[in-house]
């Protein structure tokens, strides 16, 4: 019998369900299917269902349900998760200006990769990235699918501030940061599409399972996306 999934406490009001220990679209699909199954149960005492790459955290209200009862329920939901239909995958195409002041790491990343900056832009912008899950702070989308020939380490000293909308990669991962944040990623371009707005619901446009690409456009066209939401670029 497989050692996965494993269920364990994560503090006194969360349960962590672990699947195979790797970043993989199939494993992540299992996580999302279980998340949707649990949410569709509307079970009293279950508060939040938080999918990640290969784990699912379920937070609960201890006066309403306790750990042994919840884990027993989860065992049952694991059996049902295979039957649930995942929502249709959406593809966002966010206009992106590459290089220059908007992509301060483009030339250096190209040098490390022994590619021209144009080749880096071409390979990166042709990629459709999978949104594995949303997290960190202010709705950061964890993107998977970075091509093998774009593997560059993180900066040795992270930047104290990177403007929101910056698009880049490091260590096999890619992201578009939603708001101004410190970061050690290599940023090669920027999109001006609004990726986070706490005055609206939902505050971020993506859900786990969506796909995102970053087609190259001239600066003027990229700037025209200011104030627009990602749903305008489906």
């Amino acid at each position: 019998m497989s050692q996965w999934p494993r269920i364990k406490p994560s503090g006194d009001r969360s349960v962590l369900i672990e699947f195979e220990n790797r970043i993989d679209p199939g494993v992540n699909r299992t996580v999302r299917a279980l998340a949707l199954t649990i949410e569709s149960e509307h079970f009293p005492g279950v508060q939040e269902v938080l999918p990640a790459y290969r784990t699912l955290m379920v937070t609960y209200n201890p006066p309403q349900i306790d750990y042994p009862n919840l884990t027993e329920k989860i065992q049952g939901w694991l059996g049902k998760a295979g039957d649930i239909g995942l929502p249709p995958q959406r593809v966002f195409r966010l206009p992106t200006v590459y290089g220059g002041p908007h992509g301060p790491d483009l030339d250096r990343a190209a040098q490390i990769l022994h590619l021209s900056p144009e080749e880096v832009i071409r390979i990166f912008s042709r990629t459709r990235f999978l949104v594995y899950f949303i997290g960190f702070i202010c709705g950061l989308a964890y993107l998977g699918g970075l091509p093998e020939n774009l593997r560059v380490p993180r900066l040795t000293t992270p930047r104290t501030i990177v403007p929101g909308g910056s698009v880049g990669f490091a260590g096999g991962q890619a992201n578009a940061i939603a708001t101004d944040q410190p970061s050690g990623f290599n940023y090669i371009g920027r999109t001006f599409v609004t990726l986070y707005n706490p005055e609206m619901f939902p505050p971020i446009p993506f859900v786990a399972g969506d796909e995102v690409s970053f087609p190259p456009v001239p600066e003027e066209e990229a700037l025209r996306a200011k104030g627009l939401g990602a749903e305008d670029f489906l």
Partner: protein, 320 residues
């Protein structure tokens, strides 16, 4: 209604209510008052619902000029609250007049104080909550000369009874925090676990509402400090590669890729809010049943506060 003008914004002073749970899946931490018992009690003392917005401040220096006739209450850590430089009692409602100056003149016990005003502070709501979380573009800490307003209140005048002493928490300066081990306790050596559970740690000056960084003996991993990123529960004790624990708190990021050795139980988060940089703390492993009983105990104490304030209490409350 205009309530206060900010003369000195003090240290980390901001509006908080009970936060915005339910948005972690969008990358937004729940935030909310760091010491929930004190914040809710301050509200109840002035006749507000427990979830009204209060001011959370730390250490000292906050100074406010009253612009109207107000009823206020201060609960939490003792930061020497005064009206016109005369100390006033905490854990009870106090009436003040236009021109009065409220100031917090120095920390005596605890770390954070909560000031409630009758009607509750108004201010923009983000995702259903007035809790300030500036990193998430949801409001800002207080600024000098800012004017704070209250909701127009038709709140009745509360019974002005002081709380019985046994309902007021004691913020001991060297707390032992109860933890549930895991979820990655198997990524630490037996020696590492022993270090964590037997050592005294100091709260680093680089601590804030996001997390408490701790200084002390380094905790030994077995196979590195990194995991594939996953959700982080409030109270999680992350141990990155340097072996020094970080407790993830109210405004912490919602996901991360470091091993978590344990999780501080919910009932002890208030205590952590009252522990300041430079102070010491220890960890003790407990069971989920013990954590549940502790949470129940905390809820009963708040229920007793409600009874006393509503006038519906036996002469000597059942707590503890």
């Amino acid at each position: 209604m205009k309530a206060f003008e900010v003369i000195n914004p003090g240290v980390y002073t901001m509006l908080q209510d009970l936060g915005r749970p339910g948005y972690m899946r969008y990358g937004v931490p729940a935030s909310g008052a760091s010491d929930r018992f004190s914040a809710q009690t301050a509200n109840l003392l002035v006749g507000n619902r427990p979830e009204a917005a209060i001011l959370e401040t730390a250490l000292f220096r906050l100074e406010l000029l009253a612009l109207s006739n107000l009823t206020v209450a201060v609960a939490g850590g003792d930061l020497s609250p005064s009206v016109n430089k005369t100390p006033f009692p905490m854990w009870q409602a106090v009436s003040i007049q236009p021109g009065d100056r409220i100031s917090f003149r120095g920390r005596k016990k605890g770390f954070r104080a909560f000031l409630a005003v009758r009607g509750g502070f108004s201010g923009p709501r983000y995702l259903g909550s007035r809790s300030v979380f500036s990193r998430g573009l949801m409001g800002n800490p207080l600024r000098t000369a800012e004017v704070l307003e209250t909701e127009d209140s038709a709140v009745h005048h509360p019974f002005n009874v002081p709380l019985p002493l046994n309902l007021i928490p004691d913020f001991s300066p060297r707390p032992t925090l109860r933890v549930i081990l895991g979820p990655q306790e198997d990524r630490f050596s037996p020696k590492g676990l022993e270090t964590f559970l037997s050592s005294e740690y100091t709260v680093s000056p680089q601590s804030d509402r996001m997390g408490y960084r701790l200084e002390g003996p380094r905790i030994e991993h077995t196979q590195g400090a990194d995991i594939i990123s996953e959700a982080i529960a409030r109270g999680a004790v992350q141990v990155p590669g340097d072996g020094l624990p970080i407790i993830m708190l109210w405004d912490a990021q919602v996901s991360g890729g470091y091993t978590k050795i344990a999780n501080v139980i919910t009932a002890d988060h208030d205590l952590l809010a009252q522990t300041m940089p430079g102070e010491f703390l220890r960890f003790k492993a407990v069971t989920l049943e013990e954590a549940r009983a502790a949470l129940r105990h905390q809820e009963l104490r708040l229920a007793d506060v409600k009874k006393v304030i509503s006038g519906w209490a036996a002469v000597s409350p059942t707590y503890p």
